[in-house]
Symmetry: C2
Subunit: 214 residues, 2 copies
C-alpha cells in the first residue's frame, strides 16, 4: 500500500511538472507573439492554453482519487492539498499567457507595443520565462535557495510593471488609448504570472519548512 | 464520529458564508470609494481585505484538519476539496475589490472615473454586489436556478466590461492616459470578481449534479 502511494505521489509530481512545462511553453509562444506580432504563435498559445485546463482538471481528479483511496495524513496530505493549489496556479498561468496572445491577435498586423516600452516588455517576458523555469526545477528538486531566488526575481517583475505605469502616466506619453489599454493589461498579465510562480514556490517552501502561512 | 463530521462540515459551510459576506462588504466599500472618491471607505476596504486573507487561511486549515481526522470519501471529500477552491476564489474577490479601493485612494481627491463611464461602473458595481449576494444565498441553500441566474448575470458583466473598451477605444475618447489606465484596470477587476462568483456557483452545481468539469 505504501509503495502504491509513493507511486501515486510521484505521478502527481510528474503531472505538476508537465503542467508547469506547458505553462512555460504557452508563455514562450504568447510573449513572442506579443513582441513580434506573430499571429501563428498567438494561435498556438491559445490552443495550448486549452489543453492546459484539461490537464489541470485531470490532475485534480487524480489528487481526489488518491485522497479517497489512501486517506493520507500529515505531510502527505499537505502535499496533495498543495498540489491542488499549484495546479490552480499553473492553470491560471496558462490563461494569463493566453490573454497576452489574444492582445497580439487583436492588434495584428499592427503591434501592441510602442517603441518606448519594447525593452520593458522584453524584460518582463524574459523574467517570467526564467521564473517558470525555476518553478519547474523546484518541482523536480526542492531547494530553498531557489525559493528565495524566485521571490527576489518577482520583485524585478513588480518594478518593471510599475515602470510601465511610469511611462504611460508621464506627460511625454503621446500614444493613443489603444496602446495605453494594451500595455496596461499586458503588464498586469505578466505581473500576475510571476505572482503565481511565487505562490507555487511558497507552497514548496512550506512542505520543506512546515511554514504554511507564507 | 458521523455526528462530529456533520458538525465540521457545517462549520466549513458557515465559514465559507462568512468569507463571502466579507467579500461582499469589501466590494461594497471599495466600489463606493471608487464611485464617490471616498478615501475613508477605501481604507476600510483595504483593511477588511487583510482580514479576509487570514480567514481564508484559517478555513483551509480547518479543511485540512477534517480531511486528516475524518478521511472522507465520495461526495463528502468533494465538498471539502470544493471548499478549498471556493475559499481561494473568495480570497481573490477580496483582493480584487481592494485593488479597486487602491485606485480610488491613488486618485483622491480626484475621481478615477470620467463622466462618460460613470453609469457603466455604477452598473458593474451593482451587478457584482448582486452576484456575491446570490453566491451567499447559494452557499446557504443549493439551488440550481440560482446557478443559472449567476451565469446569466455574469454575461451582463462581460458586456459592461467590453463596453468600457468600446468607450475608451472610440475616437471620441479624449481623456488622459491616467483615466485610461484606471478604467481599464478597474473594469478588469470587476469582471474577474464576477468570474469568481461563477466559479463558486459551478462548484456548488457540481456537488448537486455530479458534473465536475464545468
Amino acid at each position: 500500500m505504501h509503495g502504491i502511494f509513493q507511486n501515486e505521489l510521484a505521478d502527481v509530481q510528474s503531472r505538476l511538472i508537465g503542467l508547469a512545462e506547458n505553462a512555460q511553453s504557452i508563455m514562450d509562444k504568447a510573449s513572442r507573439a506579443f513582441l513580434n506580432s506573430d499571429v501563428t504563435l498567438a494561435d498556438e498559445a491559445l490552443a495550448l492554453a486549452g489543453t492546459n485546463e484539461t490537464k489541470a482538471l485531470d490532475l485534480d481528479e487524480l489528487v481526489i482519487k488518491v485522497l479517497s483511496t489512501q486517506s493520507p495524513v500529515a505531510r502527505d496530505l499537505r502535499i496533495l492539498v498543495s498540489a491542488l493549489r499549484m495546479s490552480a496556479s499553473l492553470e491560471r498561468m496558462g490563461s494569463l499567457s493566453s490573454h497576452i496572445a489574444a492582445i497580439a491577435r487583436y492588434r495584428y498586423p499592427g503591434s501592441a507595443i510602442p517603441t518606448s516600452l519594447r525593452q520593458t516588455f522584453e524584460d518582463l517576458a524574459r523574467i517570467d520565462l526564467e521564473l517558470v523555469g525555476k518553478a519547474i526545477t523546484l518541482l523536480q528538486n526542492t531547494d530553498l535557495d531557489l525559493v528565495r531566488e524566485i521571490q527576489a526575481r518577482d520583485e524585478a517583475v513588480d518594478r518593471l510593471h510599475r515602470k510601465v505605469f511610469d511611462v504611460v502616466l508621464n506627460p511625454e506619453w503621446k500614444e493613443n488609448a489603444m496602446y495605453t489599454v494594451d500595455v496596461t493589461l499586458a503588464s498586469r498579465y505578466f505581473e500576475r504570472f510571476a505572482d503565481h510562480v511565487v505562490d507555487i514556490s511558497s507552497k514548496v517552501s512550506f512542505l520543506q519548512t512546515g511554514e504554511w502561512h507564507d
